[in-house]
Every structure is written in structure tokens, then in C-alpha cells.
């Protein structure tokens, strides 16, 4: 008997195809063999043509026609490959197969414009019935009734929680009542609707819907019901009574107390009155008080419980919500058994309506990433307003899915009506078409369609009855049954894009896949154990050649051999040939240094001259690095403020490293412009304009600065690079008080002399006057300090000197690295100090007076200006007139115009005392500034919005290249974020809120608070990167940021205060491109510099804002398209479209973007004690430093003076460094009268001790040799979130 292996369920394989003729020949020949060739035939009686899988060793080497997998080649078409992150594989011809299955099942309309009135009612009835069923299923009422019955019993059992249980009981009863009421209402509604339906059917004489309601009555015995009813009412009444009584008891107690008190008082008063009559004079104060006491009200007796009334109430309630006794229980039941009247029996209108319904066709479009990819055939509507498609649409995709949209259309004779847009969610990778379930999506449309014949229309009012009462409007609504899932191919593998790169941001991986060389990596290690286990569990057919490899690998070896091998030798016998061990390699410090340097770790990034021998490496090379590494591992909350600062720093470091890592890739991706420098070929037009320049008249008195060549970092040799300063002039410098007196005198004198001029021409002032006149008002000069190098100008003359001097300062760079990355991260500051040079006569000896001149020069600090190096570097040059930061208290000096005003009161109205310096700063030779990373950042914004913004920006930038327009910025995650998302009212710090100031006062306070958050340029935090805007909570956590962060925070505070505030992006001096806050103050506009806390009016000619680019708030961004860009000349009415171009206008309405700011800012009060500790520490440190700097002479500290200054500093903080009242000044002067004091207070945010020391050093107080004593006081005002305002008052005293 032949066996048929295939029928037995075994795999037999495919026999090689041999011509039947040849096969027959062969069989014939074998049959002629002696034993009839038995061994050549298989069990099925056919020639053996396949290898026997049961044999241990193959009798013939296994030959397959298919190629070895590693030798396989694929034919690739020659195509251009441009990387596009929108594609899953990075390019359109990606190898991956990804498929989405969109299943469109059916649409059911819950309202349609062709609904007849009956349909409307039927739908409503169905809805109500569904509701009823749902409630029934929950059976809440029964449950509650049971509960109400049970509860009193429980109450009896446990007396302990009596009160609580009572409460609970009452609560349950109210809930029960409510539920019962709803049940009854629902039932009523159902029956009512059914009645209406019936009446309509009767009225129109035909049926449109198969709906039928049957109400099943369950008779109940009246007696039993009544008993039940009564019992329940009694129960409730009893409960109420109990409650009442408890209340009553309490009330009664209170009543008794009150009564008692009342009576006592009455008695006492009566007695007093008697007394009064007897002896009015001797009435004691206490007695009088008693008499004057207000009379207590006579207490009212609480009411007793009225059983009757309560019972009536309860009864009435029960009547309203409960089934009456004897009334049958009703159970509605809905069925679809009513017959629909055939169309030919209907009146004409209805016939037409039905006709229209069957003519109406509906179809669905499927849009993938807003492109139509397929659509269903348009199918007619059935009479019950249902369309069944039941089709699955396969979408083979190459792009990342961004949106999947279904559009439901109703086909009409002419054109289609879009009923609704429905967005289907992009399925998770785990959702495949095998596991997905149909989803119901509701849709509705506001399309208005008038009623035709019998239909009710959609979006138009209609009535049920002829009388026209009770109109209602219904919109077309419905439900779409559909699903979207990832497809599964024939092998059962889901066609899902790789999850590792499912986020479109991660296009580096995709890049890697494109480059085969980069993709080379160790293949995944196969876990043999797991494989074997799986093999055993899945019971694969061992005969199947597809599994042959597996069987061979697992089956030929016994299991214990397999288990003993839990490792895999990659390179056999390697060890014998090793020259060194891995450990030796790992501990080699030179190798480590080289690797770290190669990885661009900041500490070693530009380490030059790595030594050739390990022994030559400095011993402590890695100490710093390792310490940092360790520190990063344990960041813990610390108590100390300075430690907190350090923690903040570390946090910032971490953020920075994360950001850097993210951007490094983008940085290393070069574009053509980065590699190839292509000079623009000048066109003919330029040549002509050049030629015209020759004809221009020369203007030697109006020199123009020439453009300089930029030098690359490699071309720069050390010490060549300098900072050039051209100091042109200074104006309104305060003058000495001693000199001021005579100035005043001179003014008066001149007025007098002018009147006398006609009389005595040529006559001069007398001698005394002349001497006074020639005493200099002030002898200012400017000293510039940078990296502890100092240069100075010569001494100018008078309060408005002209210097016109060029100064040079060498630039020292760490590691001699002039690359832009390193330069950007320098946070040195150029200090520009204004001093007054005093000549002090030293000669005490009168005898020598005639022959010897012994004088000493002394300098007095008048003000300073700080410009961060990064600002100079990024702007290449800074040119303009700057306001000098002058101390609020400058003893011994006075402003000239203040003097004049006292003289000529009428002329000047302004009170601001500002000193200005005009200068020009640049770096020589000009260094190349870093190009911002222009890579397009990934974003979560709407593509369309970004495109619109880009267009807006492009358009405006072309017109006004100097102005900055910034619709989107980059957040800390390296994503483009639309800028309006940064604005949102945020709560102001608690301690400022607690002060309860006026709005104006609070605004100033808040500005001061913001300005006390340290300023760090973005380029320092994130070198080599463009501007990164952090959100306010990140900013407050990092406690460092540049203008934008300050401005955004301040603006959000202002919004919270209810001001109309905008963020202004533009250019200002000295910051260059920057952000200010613009607020509307009545008719005036104020510019707030958030990093200094100052504000300027827009018609202030010294307003630092030079160019206004755009302004923005939470709703919109407005670009400046006026012909002027200086604030003074501008129109700030943003509604004026000829002056401001908004991004969101009528043509592109605002999509109402949500904010990325947190809901609320969290403030932590700063520990005052720590602040005081720190204050002391700073003071000690500064004193030590000053003594160090004055190591040649003895430094004495004046305690008295320090005490006065300590008292003064909090007052200054209170007034936020503005002019303090004359009163204080006078007091101060009086107290200092014993000495000649030269000193001033400084205010700055706290960053670290180094910064403070540097600031004190730059003032040069310590250089005053003649000073006998010094005084130094430090005051720290701690705001929330450890924002510290540091005041340092340093002064030198001479007797």
C-alpha cells in the first residue's frame, strides 16, 4: 500500500520538475533491476526525488537554487537622492513598505435634511429608549431604594458612627429621590414622544419608520402599594423628625444660654441705672462701659416640629416623583415591527421625499497628509438613512503620517456638498488591521438646506404641527463607522515604520540608513537559548526546508551542548596574540586625553600638544573633569544659597550639554554655502553706482568708517587681537560741589555784569572771582578695564569734555583658540569707568610753597558702563552714545543742569540726571562672527502656519533688511516654536504681591526683580547656536538668560498686572539686536529694558532703542513697515495697517495657539538667614580682597561709617536705586561731615563672588593712596526663588 505523506499532514516539499517521459523511462529501467530497484522508490510509490530529512547526514550536499543571503544583490535604479525628513526612509524611493489600512464601514445619519417629521420623532424616541435601556441596565434606582431600606437597620446596629450614618442616609435619600424623578421623567418623555409619533402617523395617514413602542403594564395591588407607600412616607417623616429634633436640641441649648445672658445683662443694667441715679460722678469706667454696652436681643424660642406639615411636604414630593399606589408599573419596549407604508400608497409629497432620499448619494474621501488618496464610490442613501460602504482602503505610504482625514460628501446633481471633516487618529505601531476595532465618529455640519416637500431640512426651523408653534432647528448629524490601522502583510508582519525613528525629529538614524558604510555595525546577537525555546514551543514542521537551517542548528546538537555555550567568541585565539590587555588600554591616560579631545569634551576641546609619552602628562589633568563628572551624578538640594547657585549652575550646564548634543549634529552638517565661498559677480548696475561715487565731493570732515576684512580663526596669531575703543566725548558729567558753588556765583555774576556791560566795557571780575572761576569744575577721564588690563584717556575738561582718543586693549583667549565657538563663550566684561581726577596738594610746608610743587593725583569714580565681550564680538562694532550708570548717591558732586535750574527755573523741566559717553568699540582685526545654525529645525507647529510666517518674514525682510522680524524662535528642545506661544499672564512673585503696591509701583518692583536675575548671553550658555528662548520657569530655574528671557518674563508679569504690553524685537545700543518690553501708559509708550529694569518714554531722545523691528503679544505679531524705525518718529497704533503688518489678519486668522508657558510659576521664598550669611561672607571676602590689592599700605576700616552705610542700603533698595530723597542725602552728609568721603553704592544681581570682586576692582577705590580709612558695606535683599539684589557701598575716607 502506498503511503501518502502529504495527506498525513507532513511536509513533502516540491519535487523538481522532470518531464514525464524521462520519469517513465527511469522507472522502467529501475524496474528491470534485480530487486526491482526497490530502494529507489519512496513509500508513496514514486521515485525518490527529494532529500530525506530524517537522515543525519545528507547523502548529497544540500543545494538550493536561491542565493546565499549575504551574496544577494538588489537592483537599484539610478535616482537622485535628496534627504527629506518627511519621508520615512529619508527619500521617496525608500525600501521600506509601510501601509495603512483605512476601513470605512458605514454612515448612519441621526439627522438629515430629508428626514420627515416622523423620522425626527423616531430618532428622538430611539435616543430616549437607548437612554432608558442604559439606565435600566445600571438599575440605580433599585440599588438606592435598597440602600435606603438597609441603612436605618445598619444605623441601629452600630451606634458609634451614628451621626455619620445619619448624614449618609440623608444623602442617599436625596440621591434616590433625584434618580427616581429622572426615571419617571424619562418614562413620561418616552410615552409623550410615542404619542406624538402616533398622532403624526394618524395625521399623515402613512408610516415612514418601522418603530413601534409597546408599553407593558404590570398590575399591582393597590392595598399593598398603599401600605408600602405609607410606610415609606412615615420612614422619611421619622427621619426628618429625628434630624429636626437633634437640631432642635441644639437650638434650645443655645436659646437657653442666650436667654440666661440676656437676663443677666438686663439685671445688671437695671442696677447700674439705679446707681447712676444715686451717684453720677462716682461712676467707674467699668460701669460706664457696662451701661454703654449694646443691649442683647431677646432670644427667640426655636420652633417645634410640625409633623403634619412635614408629612404633607413629603407626600407632595412623593406624588411628584413616585408611582402612585395602584398605578400599574410601565415597561416600554421598542421594536422595529411597524410596517412602512409602501410608496405607492403615500401622498405625493411623501413619494417625492422618498424619491429624493434614494437619489441622494454619499461618499467619503480619504485624505492622507491633506492629500486625497482615495475615495469611496458614491452610494445611495437607504430609506433609513444609512450608507454601508464596508470597504478597506490600503494606503501605501512613504511619508510620515501627519494626518488622516475623512471627508463626507453628499453628491448632488451639481457639485458635492462637504458635510464634515473627520480626523482619524494616527494609529499606534501596535494597532494593526488584525487587532483594530471599528470606531464610531460623530459628525455634524452647519450646512443649511431648505426643506423640500415633506423633509424637514437641516439648519432651518420647522414645526411638528400645523399651527406653527414649537419650532425647532436641527443640523445634519451622523455617525461614521471606521477604523485606521497598520496593515499586516501575508507573513503576518505589520507594515509599521520602525519605531526607533518614528519621531520625525530623529532623522539622523534615517541618514545613517542611507549611507551603507555608516550602517555597518555589529549585527544583533542571537540568543540561542531563546531560539531553542521558541522552536520547541511553536512546533515547526522539521521537514519544511524553510526551517532546515534552524533544525540543523538546533536539532543536530544535543540540548546540553547548546546550553553550555552561553558566549560567542568573536575573535578566536586573540588573547594569545594580545600585546596588552584591555585594562592597560583603558587606564592609559594619554589615550584617554586624545579620545576626550577628539570627542570635543569642553575641557580638552582645544588641548594643544598632547605629549608623546604618558609620563609627560600633567598629573592632575583629569582631576577637574572627573570631579565634574562626579558632581553631575549627585545633584541634591542644598540649604546654602551659594550652594543653591552652584546647583543652578549645574542644572544650566546640564541643559546646555543636552542642547549642545542635539545641535552638534546640525552643526556638523555642512551646506554648500559653508563649503564653497562664491563671491557674487557684480552686475552692471553696481558698476554704474560705483562710477557715480567717483564724482561725489569729498567730505574730509565727515569721515566714514571703512569696511575691514574679516580674519579667520586660524589666521590669527596670539597677541595680535585687540579691542579698539574710540572715545569721542562725554556729556553732562556731574561737577564738584565746591566748584559748583562758584559756578552758581559766576552765573549770577555774569547776569550782573551783562547788565553792566554798557557801563564798564573791558572791566573784568575782581581777583577773587577769577580764582574761583579757574578752579576746574571737574576733570574727567575715562578708564577702560578688560581682563584686568587698564587703559585710560587723558584728562578732559569740564562737564562736557571731548576726548577723541583711541584706546587699545589686548584680548587674551584661553588656549589661544580664536575659533568662534570659544570666543562666543567668553563672558568677560569691558568696564568703562568715568573718573574725576583730583589734584591734591601735598606740601604742608609753607616755606616750600613758592619753590616746590608737591601734588598728588586722586581719582574719584563717577560712573561706569559695562559691555559684555560677547556683545562686541557678535555685533562686530558698537557705535553710539551710551548712558553711564551713575550711582544713586554720589557725595560731593552735583549736576550742572540742576544748578542751572535753581538759577533759571523756567528753562528746564526734566529732572533726569544722566551722563552720556559717545564712543566706538570694535575688535581689531575683525574676527569672523559665527553664523547662526540655519538648519530648519523640527517643529510641532502646523506646517501651514510656519509657511505663512516664513512668507511674512521674507517679505518684510526684503523690504527692510535692517529690521528684525522674528515669528518663530527655538526652544530648549531645539524645536521651532511660534513666538506668541511664549506670552501668557504669569503670577508675579509672592513677596512683591504681598507688598500691595499700586499697579505702577508693582510694575517697577517687578521690573527690578527681573533685572536682578543674572544676565548671561545665549552665546555663552549655548555657544555656536542661535538664539534659544527658554520658557519662564526654565529661566527662573536656570537663573540666567539674556534679553529675550528677561523681556518675556517681564512682559508676562505685566500681562498679569493687566497692562497692555508687547514684546519689542529690535536693535538698541549697546546690546545690538535685543528685546524690550513695550507698554501702553495712557497716551505714552514706555520701553522697558528688562535686563536693567529701566524704562524710557518713546519720545525720549536718549531712548536706547534704535530700530524697531516687530512687536508681538499673545495674539499676534506686528511687523514695522513704517518708513521710520526710531521710536520717536513712529506710530504705535497697531491697528494702523499701513504702519504695522500683522501676521494674523483677516486673510489668515489666528489659529489661537496655546501657550508653552507653565500654568503658574512656583516661587520659593528665600531663606533670609542664608542671605544674611552670604551678605557677611561677601563683605568679609571683599574686605580681604581690598586689603590684598593694597598690600603695600595699611588698610583701616571705619566702623562708624560702615554702620551708616548699612542703614542706607536698604533704603536704596526700597527706592530701587533711584534718586533718594534730599532728606536722606542731607542726613548722610551730616553724618559723614567729619570726613571727606568719596564713595558710592553699587547694585547688581548676584552671580558669584568673582563677579562682585571684579566690579569692585573696576571702580578703583582701592587705588586711592591718600585715603586714610575705608568703609565697605554689603546688603543683600533676597527675593523669591533666590533672586538676590546685592548692594555694595564702598568708600574711602579722608579727614
Amino acid at each position: 500500500m502506498p503511503r501518502f505523506l502529504e495527506e498525513e499532514g507532513l511536509y513533502v516539499g516540491v519535487r523538481p520538475s522532470v518531464a514525464n517521459r524521462n520519469l517513465n523511462k527511469m522507472e522502467n529501467r529501475l524496474l528491470h533491476e534485480p530487486d526491482k530497484g526497490r530502494k529507489w522508490f519512496g513509500e508513496d510509490g514514486r521515485l525518490k526525488a527529494l532529500p530525506d530529512p530524517l537522515k543525519k547526514n545528507p547523502s548529497r550536499p544540500f543545494m538550493t537554487d536561491e542565493q546565499e543571503p549575504y551574496l544577494e544583490t538588489v537592483f537599484r535604479k539610478a535616482v537622485m537622492r535628496e534627504f527629506d525628513y518627511r519621508y520615512i526612509d529619508g527619500a521617496i524611493d525608500g525600501t521600506g513598505r509601510y501601509q495603512l489600512d483605512a476601513d470605512i464601514n458605514s454612515i448612519v445619519f441621526s439627522h438629515h435634511h430629508l428626514f420627515s417629521r416622523e423620522h425626527v420623532l423616531a430618532t428622538r424616541l430611539t435616543d430616549l429608549y437607548q437612554d432608558y435601556l442604559a439606565r435600566k441596565k445600571k438599575n440605580m434606582t433599585e440599588f438606592l431604594i435598597e440602600k435606603v431600606h438597609i441603612l436605618p437597620i445598619i444605623t441601629l446596629c452600630c451606634q458609634k458612627f451614628l451621626f455619620k450614618l445619619h448624614c449618609f442616609c440623608r444623602h442617599t435619600r436625596t440621591v434616590k429621590d433625584k434618580e427616581e424623578e429622572m426615571d419617571r421623567q424619562l418614562l413620561k418623555n418616552i410615552i409623550h414622544t410615542w404619542k406624538e409619533l402616533k398622532s403624526i402617523r394618524e395625521f399623515q395617514n402613512y408610516n415612514n419608520t418601522p418603530i413601534k413602542l409597546q408599553v407593558i403594564k404590570e398590575e399591582t395591588s393597590k392595598k399593598e402599594d398603599q401600605l408600602h407607600w405609607k410606610q415609606e412616607i412615615e420612614e422619611e417623616v421619622g427621619e426628618l423628625q429625628e434630624d429636626f429634633e437633634e437640631n432642635y436640641r441644639k437650638e434650645l441649648e443655645r436659646y437657653k444660654e442666650d436667654l440666661d445672658r440676656y437676663e443677666k445683662q438686663q439685671a445688671a443694667k437695671a442696677q447700674e441705672k439705679k446707681k447712676k441715679k444715686i451717684k453720677e460722678k462716682e461712676m467707674s469706667a467699668a460701669d460706664r462701659e457696662l451701661l454703654n454696652e449694646e443691649d442683647l436681643l431677646q432670644p427667640v424660642m426655636p420652633e417645634t416640629f410640625d409633623v403634619k406639615l412635614t408629612r404633607e411636604k413629603v407626600k407632595a414630593k412623593a406624588m411628584a416623583i413616585r408611582r402612585r399606589p395602584g398605578e400599574p408599573k410601565l415597561f416600554p419596549e421598542l421594536s422595529n415591527t411597524a410596517t412602512i407604508t409602501p410608496t405607492n400608497q403615500c401622498p405625493r409629497g411623501e413619494q417625492q421625499r422618498r424619491d429624493d432620499v434614494s437619489k441622494t448619494k454619499v461618499f467619503v474621501k480619504i485624505l492622507f497628509n491633506d492629500k486625497e488618496v482615495s475615495r469611496t464610490p458614491s452610494k445611495p442613501l437607504s430609506q433609513d438613512f444609512r450608507v454601508t460602504f464596508g470597504q478597506i482602503y490600503n494606503l501605501k505610504i512613504v511619508q510620515w503620517p501627519e494626518s488622516i482625514k475623512f471627508q463626507i460628501f453628499e453628491a448632488r446633481a451639481l457639485g458635492n456638498d462637504l458635510l464634515a471633516d473627520l480626523y482619524a487618529g494616527i494609529p499606534d505601531p501596535s494597532v494593526t488591521s488584525q487587532s483594530v476595532q471599528l470606531e464610531e465618529m460623530d459628525f455634524s455640519t452647519d450646512l443649511k438646506i431648505d426643506k423640500t416637500n415633506e423633509g424637514v431640512g437641516s439648519g432651518v426651523p420647522f414645526t411638528f404641527d400645523v399651527h406653527g408653534t414649537n419650532t425647532m432647528i436641527l443640523m445634519t448629524t451622523g455617525i461614521l463607522c471606521s477604523s485606521v490601522a497598520w496593515a499586516v502583510d501575508s507573513d503576518g508582519t505589520p507594515l509599521v515604520p520602525p519605531t526607533t525613528s518614528i519621531a520625525p525629529t530623529n532623522y539622523y538614524n534615517a541618514m545613517k540608513m542611507m549611507d551603507p558604510v555608516a550602517a555597518i555595525g555589529a549585527s544583533g546577537v542571537v540568543d540561542l537559548d531563546k531560539l531553542a525555546k521558541w522552536f520547541q514551543e511553536s512546533r515547526l514542521d522539521p521537514n519544511d526546508p524553510n526551517n532546515a537551517d534552524l533544525v540543523f542548528m538546533l536539532g543536530s546538537k544535543s540540548t546540553n551542548v547548546m546550553q553550555s555555550r552561553d558566549f560567542f567568541r568573536l575573535e578566536q585565539l586573540q588573547q594569545e596574540f594580545d600585546l596588552a590587555t584591555d585594562e592597560e588600554m583603558a587606564i592609559n591616560r594619554r589615550f584617554r586625553l586624545l579620545t576626550l579631545r577628539d570627542n570635543e569634551i569642553p575641557e580638552f576641546k582645544n588641548y594643544k600638544m598632547a605629549p608623546a609619552y604618558e609620563r609627560e602628562l600633567p598629573r592632575d589633568l583629569f582631576m577637574e573633569y572627573e570631579r565634574k563628572q562626579r558632581e553631575e551624578e549627585r545633584i541634591k538640594e542644598t540649604e546654602d544659597i551659594e550652594a543653591h547657585r552652584a546647583a543652578v549652575n549645574r542644572f544650566m550646564q546640564r541643559v546646555r550639554e543636552q542642547v549642545m548634543r542635539r545641535f552638534r549634529l546640525a552643526q556638523h552638517q555642512k551646506r554648500l554655502e559653508d563649503v564653497v565661498i562664491e563671491e557674487v559677480v557684480p552686475n552692471i548696475g553696481i558698476v554704474f553706482t560705483r562710477l557715480l561715487h567717483f564724482g561725489e565731493p569729498r567730505r574730509p570732515l565727515r569721515p566714514i568708517r571703512k569696511e575691514r576684512k574679516k580674519v579667520t580663526a586660524t589666521a590669527v596669531r596670539g597677541e595680535q587681537v585687540k579691542i579698539l575703543l574710540n572715545i569721542i566725548r562725554a556729556s553732562s558729567i556731574p561737577i564738584r560741589k565746591s566748584a559748583a558753588g562758584c559756578l552758581l556765583y559766576w552765573h549770577q555774576g555774569r547776569a550782573k555784569s551783562l547788565s553792566k556791560v554798557s557801563k564798564s566795557v573791558g572791566s573784568s571780575f575782581d581777583n577773587q572771582e577769577q580764582i574761583l572761576l579757574f578752579q576746574p569744575l571737574v576733570r574727567p577721564y575715562i578708564e577702560v578695564m578688560f581682563q584686568r588690563n587698564t587703559v585710560r584717556t587723558s584728562v578732559g575738561d569740564g562737564p562736557n569734555p571731548s576726548f577723541n582718543e583711541e584706546l587699545e586693549l589686548p584680548l587674551k583667549v584661553t588656549n589661544d583658540d580664536y575659533s568662534s565657538n570659544n570666543l562666543q563663550s567668553m563672558n568677560d566684561i569691558v568696564y568703562i569707568n568715568l573718573f574725576d581726577e583730583m589734584v591734591v596738594d601735598m606740601s604742608h610746608d609753607d616755606r616750600e610753597k613758592g619753590t616746590v610743587v608737591h601734588q598728588k593725583l586722586e581719582k574719584k569714580w563717577l560712573g561706569s558702563l559695562e559691555i559684555p565681550f560677547s556683545t562686541i564680538y557678535l555685533n562686530t562694532k558698537i557705535d553710539g552714545t551710551f548712558r553711564v550708570n551713575t550711582p544713586p548717591v554720589l557725595l560731593g558732586y552735583v549736576y550742572e543742569d540742576a544748578m542751572k535750574r535753581s538759577d533759571l527755573e523756567s528753562v528746564l523741566t526734566k529732572t533726569e540726571h544722566n551722563t552720556y559717553i559717545s564712543m566706538f568699540l570694535t575688535i581689531e582685526p575683525q574676527l569672523i562672527t559665527p553664523e547662526p545654525v540655519r538648519e530648519r529645525f523640527s517643529t510641532n507647529e502646523d506646517e501651514k502656519l510656519l509657511l505663512h510666517a516664513e512668507k511674512w518674514q521674507q517679505e518684510l525682510t526684503n523690504k527692510h533688511p535692517k529690521r528684525l522680524y522674528k515669528p518663530s524662535v527655538i526652544d530648549v528642545n531645539g524645536k521651532s516654536v511660534f513666538v506668541t506661544r511664549y506670552f501668557k499672564p504669569l503670577n508675579i512673585p509672592d513677596d512683591i504681591k504681598d507688598l500691595n503696591l499700586t499697579t505702577e509701583g508693582t510694575a517697577e518692583r517687578v521690573a527690578h526683580y527681573v533685572s536682578m536675575i543674572p544676565f548671561v548671553s545665549d552665546t555663552v550658555v549655548f555657544p555656536g547656536l542661535c538664539d534659544i528662548w527658554s520658557t519662564c520657569d526654565q529661566f527662573l530655574r536656570m537663573l540666567a538668560g539674556d534679553e529675550e528671557e528677561h523681556a518675556v518674563l517681564l512682559m508676562n508679569y505685566f500681562l498679569h498686572l493687566g497692562k497692555r504690553a508687547y514684546l519689542l524685537i529690535g536693535s538698541a545700543i549697546p546690546e545690538g539686536p535685543t528685546a524690550y518690553v513695550l507698554t501702553e501708559e495712557g497716551s505714552d509708550f514706555w520701553f522697558w529694558n528688562a535686563s536693567t529694569g529701566e524704562h524710557f518714554s518713546y519720545h525720549d531722545s536718549n531712548c536706547p532703542v534704535q530700530v524697531v523691528g516687530c512687536i508681538m503679544n499673545q495674539d499676534n505679531v506686528w511687523g514695522n513697515i513704517q518708513s521710520y524705525e526710531k521710536p520717536v518718529q513712529m506710530d504705535f497704533n497697531i491697528a494702523n495697517t499701513s504702519a504695522w503688518r500683522p501676521i494674523f489678519s483677516r486673510s489668515y486668522p489666528s489659529p489661537m495657539l496655546g501657550s508653552i508657558q507653565p500654568e503658574m510659576l512656583q516661587y520659593v521664598a528665600t531663606d533670609k538667614k542664608h542671605a544674611e550669611d552670604l551678605q557677611e561672607r561677601i563683605e568679609q571676602h571683599l574686605k580681604n580682597k581690598i586689603m590684598d590689592w593694597r598690600s603695600r599700605t595699611l588698610t583701616r576700616w571705619n566702623r562708624h561709617c560702615t554702620k551708616i552705610m548699612r542703614k542706607l542700603l536698604p533704603i536704596l533698595e526700597e527706592s530701587r536705586g533711584q534718586e533718594i530723597s534730599q532728606h536722606h542725602l542731607e542726613e548722610l552728609e551730616k553724618q559723614f561731615s567729619a570726613y571727606k568721603v568719596s564713595g558710592f553704592p553699587m547694585n547688581m544681581p548676584f552671580v558669584d563672588l568673582e563677579k562682585l570682586v571684579e566690579a569692585v576692582f573696576s571702580t578703583g577705590v582701592h587705588t586711592q593712596e591718600s585715603a586714610e580709612e575705608f568703609a565697605l558695606a554689603v546688603y543683600i535683599h533676597a527675593y523669591n526663588n533666590s533672586v538676590l539684589s546685592v548692594w555694595i557701598y564702598v568708600a574711602s575716607l579722608t579727614k
Binding site: 542565493q67 543571503p69 537599484r76 551603507p516 558604510v517 600585546l579 588600554m585
Partner: protein, 175 residues
């Protein structure tokens, strides 16, 4: 612990049917080798010679290895790609060679090959460009059985490499 410093350049390629070429290169080493600094892989620009019989890239290579053994001596492997007049890229050849084992300047030539594919593929390639590529590019430098792979010889890649070896003599390896 030997150190190998490779300094040199990929000069160019010659002998290809057309010479607007670029090349992707990489250096593959055994497990005992560690890159201290420098790039292990890269891609040259597309050279578009007008009259020459060769493409020149002059692509710098500067890489510093440390090793604890001789096994897995670095191999440099190439994929030469052709860019046609439409800007489309197609594969022109695979090739690899070991880095020299002696110090000094070495002028090297590396021959390349490419899979031929079926007759139909060849016809398609002749008219439309493109061509068969290895599914698994590891094969370029791994010594598996390749007797079933049909290839055709392409041009040569020229290299000029300078090698500096260090510390090998300490372990009895003369160079």
C-alpha cells in the same frame, strides 16, 4: 599597546567607464583596535573632470589608532559611485585594501568590482542606469565564500598613505 597613525589622502580613481565619480570610504578594524582620534569614514566630493582619464578627489585621511594586537589590521574599503549628467547616482564599484604594515609613504592602488546581475538587469542598466548592489555591504571586506557572486572589474582607486607605527618593536614586531 601599539599605535598606528595614518595620514594621507584618497588621490582619485581611474579606469572607470566614466569619471564623474565620488567615493564613500570607511576603515574597518578588528576588535582590538580603537580609534583615538580622527574620522573612520567619509565621503568625497563629486569630481567632474573635463578631459581627464581619471577623477581626482584628494580627500584627506587622518586617523590615529591604538591597538592591543595585530589581529584585524585596518582595512580601508570603498564604494565608488558615479553621478550621471542628470544628477543621478549609481554604484560603480566596491573595493578594499589593507593599510600598509610598514611605516613610510605608500602609493597604493585598489581595484574595484561590481556585481553583474542578470541579463535583464544588464539591459536595464545599459539603457536606464542603476545597477545591482550588495544587499550587505559587509561583504566588501569579509572573506566569505563569494564563488557564486558574478562580478565585473571596474577601475582603480589611488591612495597615498603615510604610516607612523609606534611601540610595535617593544613587542617583538619589527617594522
Amino acid at each position: 599597546m601599539g599605535e598606528v597613525h595614518v595620514i594621507g589622502q584618497i588621490v582619485g580613481a581611474s579606469g572607470f567607464p566614466d569619471h564623474s565619480l565620488f567615493c564613500k570610504w570607511g576603515i574597518h578594524t578588528g576588535g582590538a583596535w580603537k580609534v583615538l582620534s580622527g574620522l573612520r569614514e567619509g565621503q568625497t566630493q563629486v569630481d567632474n573632470p573635463q578631459n581627464h582619464e581619471a577623477a581626482f578627489w584628494s580627500h584627506p585621511i587622518d586617523i590615529h589608532f591604538a591597538t592591543k594586537g595585530l589581529q584585524g589590521w585596518p582595512k580601508i574599503h570603498f564604494q565608488v559611485w558615479h553621478q550621471d549628467q542628470y544628477g543621478r547616482n549609481e554604484l560603480y564599484g566596491y573595493g578594499f585594501c589593507h593599510l600598509p604594515t610598514s611605516p613610510g609613504i605608500h602609493e597604493m592602488e585598489c581595484s574595484t568590482w561590481r556585481p553583474t546581475g542578470t541579463f535583464f538587469q544588464q539591459v536595464s542598466q545599459f539603457f536606464l542606469g542603476g545597477g545591482p548592489q550588495l544587499k550587505n555591504p559587509d561583504l566588501i571586506y569579509s572573506g566569505a565564500d563569494r564563488y557564486k557572486l558574478h562580478t565585473i572589474a571596474m577601475g582603480k582607486v589611488h591612495l597615498r598613505l603615510g604610516l607612523i607605527l609606534r611601540n610595535f618593536d617593544r613587542f617583538g614586531i619589527e617594522c
